[in-house]
């Protein structure tokens, strides 16, 4: 393998890591805090993607000259829309199903089917085309033979921003303190006066919002259609479960491990075989460490 291919391959691993991390963050905090397995996470991503599409359409119609700056606005809008949807969902639906993990799985899966069919009825069964702003098309070429896709750099940047924001939220604000307290010991947090129901609602909404941001960013390199969510959900679950459900650091480390394995295995084997090998590794790892590779050690 030549040097430039090796460099690009290393970059791929890094890029895939940020993609997986961005996908999994929202699911991880919801899973970690409430033990709710949100099967509709993928559809929330699709909702973010469709919000991006709508923003692009509005810009194309009303202000075609500003089309180059629509993406940052779309990302924020995607967060807002999915945040609001998540909040409504938690208040009207999910909160009645706490402590019934199997039922929540079934219910959110049903919800994902309903959302898929709604997207299909609203936007048609075919994928919609989301335009890339001109500054994200093409690649950056630091030297001959090496080309780094700009859209991937954008996603790396976005993941860093989102990761830092989430870190600050969890570790440097009052809200973060409450969320961490409830994650660690729900009963005791309630006893010292934290409104755990509110914490649940807000956390679920934040998790949903993060899904929206991911969905919005992924329109730059993947498809936007009614079943878009299904393309991500399996990977997202693997990352979260492999990392251990209660630690964000674990999610990052697991995303990194899986991304590296996947990009190198894909290079050496075929895509299908790479996927199968990763699943095999995950199964073996979970056999020996059922709580995930990087599970936080918590006293129960």
């Amino acid at each position: 393998m030549s040097f430039d291919i090796a460099v690009m391959q290393a970059f791929n691993g890094l890029s895939l890591f940020t993609v997986l991390a961005l996908m999994a963050l929202g699911l991880a905090i919801i899973f970690g805090l409430m033990g709710v397995i949100n099967m509709a996470h993928g559809e929330l991503m699709a909702m973010g993607a469709y919000t991006t599409y709508l923003t692009a359409v509005v810009f194309e119609r009303l202000a075609p000259t500003l089309l180059s700056v629509y993406l940052p606005i779309a990302v924020v809008l995607a967060f807002t829309v999915t945040f609001a949807f998540g909040l409504g969902l938690e208040r009207s639906f999910i909160r009645f199903l706490y402590h019934r993990p199997l039922d929540t799985m079934l219910a959110t899966w049903g919800l994902s089917l309903i959302l898929q069919q709604s997207f299909r009825s609203l936007f048609g069964p075919r994928e919609v085309g989301v335009p890339s702003p001109s500054w994200l098309r093409g690649a950056w070429q630091p030297m001959g033979g090496i080309s780094i896709p700009l859209s991937r750099l954008f996603i790396i940047g976005l993941t860093v921003v989102v990761g830092c924001a989430l870190y600050r939220l969890l570790f440097a604000t009052r809200w973060g303190l409450r969320i961490r307290a409830v994650t660690q010991n729900r009963a005791m947090s309630g006893a010292v006066g934290i409104d755990t129901a509110r914490v649940d609602a807000v956390t679920f909404a934040i998790g949903s919002g993060l899904a929206g941001v991911a969905g919005s960013a992924f329109t730059m390199f993947a498809s936007t259609g009614p079943v878009t969510g299904q393309q991500y959900i399996v990977d997202t679950f693997i990352v979260v479960v492999f990392g251990g459900v209660e630690s964000l650091l674990g999610t990052f480390l697991s995303a990194f491990t899986i991304a590296q394995m996947q990009s190198w295995l894909e290079f050496m084997l075929t895509g299908s075989m790479a996927k199968a090998s990763i699943l095999l590794c995950v199964i073996v790892a979970l056999y020996f460490r059922p709580a995930g590779l990087f599970a936080a050690k918590v006293r129960r």
């Binding site: 075919r126 896709p149 700009l150 259609g225 009614p226 894909e266 075929t270 299908s272």
Partner: protein, 395 residues
Amino acid sequence: MMLSRRTFLKGTTAAAVATVSTAPFMWPRGGWAQGTVKIGILHSLTGTIAIAEASVVDAEKLAIEEINASGGVMGRKIETIVEDGASDWPTFAEKARKLLDRDKVAAIMGCYTSASRKATLPVVERSKGLLYYPTYYEGLEQSPNIMYTAQEATQSVIAAVNWLAQHKGKSFYLIGSDYIWPRTTNKIAKPTIEKAGGKVLGEDYIPLGNVEFASVINKIKAQKPEVILSTVVGGSNVAFYKQLQAAEINGKNQALLALAVSEEEASGIGTENLEGFLSCMGYFQSLKGGSNDKFVKAFKAKYGGNRVVGDTLECGYISVYLWKMAAEKAKSFDVPAVVAASSELEIDAPEGKVKFHKLNHHLWKHARIGSFRKDGQIDMIYESPLIEPNPFPKI
């Protein structure tokens, strides 16, 4: 004599049972019901495959509407019954059974994926029904009760490979989604490439629905093939072309021929990402000719000016006409008579004159290669003579 409620019920139930049980013998398929004949349409309107299939229903309905407007088939109007296969193979079988046994349709226009066809096949054979299948597929099948109106694998891939080897280069990279159609197609492609003096540098399969192509693209860059032959399908295509574009591989610096991207997929992929890449199909919307103009115009008039048509839509459209012509030639709606009349039946289709093979239920077809324009339409650059269908090629 007073008729008690019980005896009344007994009597009517017995009569009803008698009617229902003898019904199949009293009414031949197609039903005598006052001047109509029933046609079933069986595609996925919901679920993952609706993306490709839902619009085929539109084309088939258009054909039926046109036929009814011009007086129907042998004086009978067509009554359409649409069923949703819901992207679920057992549902396809169940709905086919319903259409054939309960509705007694004269023929079904339906199925898209091979999996749905394979699920429907035993039902159609057992009920001695008739299915028109309008999707390009991998071949290796021939049922007495199915008419195949799109290309089978040899009719596109052999022509495409020979043309590519002659005009674009001899080193190939094969990439496809991981299921039966791409693998069978490549099984035919590989010896054809070798026969044409070329060689295969790499062969790659990615899971259905996969959206991560960066490593595959690096592999392609490392191998530097002159030609990429793609059998990637569905949503993966959007990701594939977007990421090729981002890696600076485009229609200007790389020859790539897709066997499963038609005009219909172009807007979702982003037409700027496809420009200059090649497609091989039996039909393009941009084809010149009276019957194609008529078809495209009628389709847009009914469904809206921004709709586009592709290969599968056209095949769905001509399926209905092929059935009508066969029935009229046979002067009967009986399945064996219609099938017999289909042998060597010729139609002036939007894709040009095509005709059924004498024996194997497939159409003689042109393979056409075209290049994507900036607006998502395809300019034809090569047209093969009519190719004999050969669903069981010896390789």
